[in-house]
Assembly symmetry: C3
Homo-oligomer: 277 residues x 3
């Protein structure tokens, strides 16, 4: 794909979402659940969140795509997450996995290990999470010892390149590594997306809500294009918002405004570069 | 009641709430729980949220009214919700039911079916939810097959008129159907409330928080007046906020400001019409 | 300690946090969980929230300090909270307890009673909560009957003075009583901190997020200094924010901006007085 072809597909993904208002179900953490829903609505999607196995199955079937974030595990997740991931896999419904805080606790490890077979269409995380997940799945570039620090990354995006590529090759989907410059790969091509703001790590949920927004675009595009489109609108909105605010509270709010206002053409034209793996 | 008598009662409900700062307990979903609490505080109420059966019972007895929203069911709700609804019914304490996403999952269906006997004083929902609840309760105007799409409505408010009237007649309370024009009925009179904003469906929680605010007014007014007062302040604040913002993030925030600033006289004068059933 | 020595330590606590970005884990309520995290980030900390016993233990060991808020109890808390409190006590890791709504329900009472032996380094609450907790722990100044009204206080800060002092003497840490004027004590000295805003009780989470922020400072200062530093930045940010907004929605957002912008010198110079017990 040329850069122009990619831009055309980004444009198309954004337009389709704005026109079809696709339903995207989520099972996500309670810290940023509101921000995830509002970000999904801001880009043109429709949001619904659940906790129970049966309701997750319902949403998996009724939604165009699903977002699963393991941030704040509840006891019921031991049943809900494998069940819903299996339904997604068996029905071929696209989904995004956000392996938040991989390495904390045995239930999290056990759940994330099971997801290997259910092959999420997009995996989104910071560099440390991507490296740790590849390690957990025994893929190239993974580390046996997680360097995840709570929800923060202690690794640079480029250090996660091999892990991202091997995860994408395994799933046949795409991987998005969030950081100062974002890396998106489908296992054969790597895109670097530019923009964003120094305020993004100063608010909670910039990463989670990006995962939720990628799931929205996943209803209208390939995993690679969906991950790149979500990342592009985040970088664009981040850059624009930073110019208008002087603190993280206002950033969080105006950022939603900019997500809403960004046009398909502007998102397609957000700076990015591509290279072969 | 004449329109003037209704306006006088709306004025009185708003004033009483501002003066008495009534406590209103809620059992509600985790997506919009913060927005519900902040909206209840903005209009002059006091908020408290719980999950456990015994704590729900405590709040049901200690509060002036209760708000129950079945948005994100947790396993414990199987015990909490019927127990609290029974306490509310047995003690005659007024409460608002928000039958979010009725039709998704068997626990939700089972819980909502049980609520028929506990007769919520106000039922608030979008048109599809009201039609589906009437169907679940086998009342006139209900549909056997829910057209609820996650948390969105696919039906128009006016299509829910018969269902709303039959639900109100069954409970002896009031029903509020939220949409472009809002319909409120006590089974004998129908009020249409005007205003609002195109941003309201672009944020999560406009409907939930209205349910919570109606519960606040329910401490100081009849179900019909409480539902109409809550709807009126939402329409007024929505109209005012839309003029000040250019995106849904700012809308959400300034909307709380406008809820806070709206006076009893302004709320009573928000446009509405009444007709006999 | 002289006032100047205290100010020097406040300055140092703020600077250390801004430079080290300390990780602080929380087990807290779902109503204000997002606001707690964003406030912790705004002052320079890093946030992570969990529900499960094992994950709480992990965070207790990996964090510089822990924040425990009993606002919205879930069934799993019966296991999580005593387990994590024991780990904190056994490892000497500092933690903040927010005894929200003490007196509501038997699980809450049972959990809070157990915490007596685990001696939280800082206890933060409104006057009624502090009095009720002292009563529950059978300490001087406590009342057998809780006057807690949901999450609100019905007592004045000064009425909680004896209870605050006896709680601080028992734990060997500090107690912060939030109100119009805030009272902080380590059992031998009392500080009164001035500032804040009439909007603070009009938003949900002003108290919870203060507890979370005190936990951030607890990674870099004694319990008394951490409690005073957190209270000071809240009073400073509250005063500044009130001048810029006309409603509680905007207050909540701009308040986070002011938390972020407040310098160590400004926080150290926020008005306070000290007196011997």
């Amino acid at each position: 794909m040329t850069k122009e072809e990619i831009q055309k597909q980004i444009f198309q993904a954004v337009e389709t979402v704005k026109q079809t208002n696709p339903m995207v179900g989520s099972i996500t953490n309670t810290v940023t659940i509101n921000f995830v829903a509002n970000a999904q609505l801001a880009v043109g999607g429709s949001a619904a969140m659940v906790y129970l196995p049966e309701e997750g199955e319902f949403l998996a079937k009724a939604s165009g795509a699903i977002y699963i974030n393991v941030g704040t595990l509840l006891p019921i997740y031991e049943q809900t997450l494998p069940h819903v991931a299996k339904v997604l896999h068996d029905t071929g419904k696209p989904w995004v996995l956000d392996p938040v805080a991989v390495g904390i606790g045995s239930m999290r490890t056990h759940l994330l290990r099971q997801f290997k077979d259910y092959k999420p269409h997009v995996i989104r995380g910071n560099a440390s999470e991507i490296i740790a997940l590849a390690g957990l799945w025994k893929l190239d570039g993974g580390a046996a010892i997680s360097k995840v620090r709570g929800v923060d990354s202690t690794d640079s995006v480029i250090a996660a390149k091999t892990a991202a590529v091997s995860l994408a090759k395994w799933t046949g989907g795409a991987v998005a590594v969030s950081g100062k410059t974002d890396l998106i790969t489908d296992g054969t091509v790597i895109a670097f997306s530019y923009g964003g703001s120094h305020f993004m790590p100063k608010i909670t949920g910039a990463g989670c809500s990006l995962g939720g927004v990628i799931a929205v675009y996943l209803t209208a595009a390939s995993p690679f294009i969906a991950a790149l489109t979500g990342t592009a609108v985040y970088n664009l909105a981040g850059t624009r918002t930073e110019k208008k605010v002087d603190g993280p509270g206002s950033f969080q709010i105006k950022f939603l405004d900019e997500l809403y206002k960004a046009s398909a053409g502007e998102i397609a034209n957000n700076p990015f570069e591509i290279e072969e793996v």
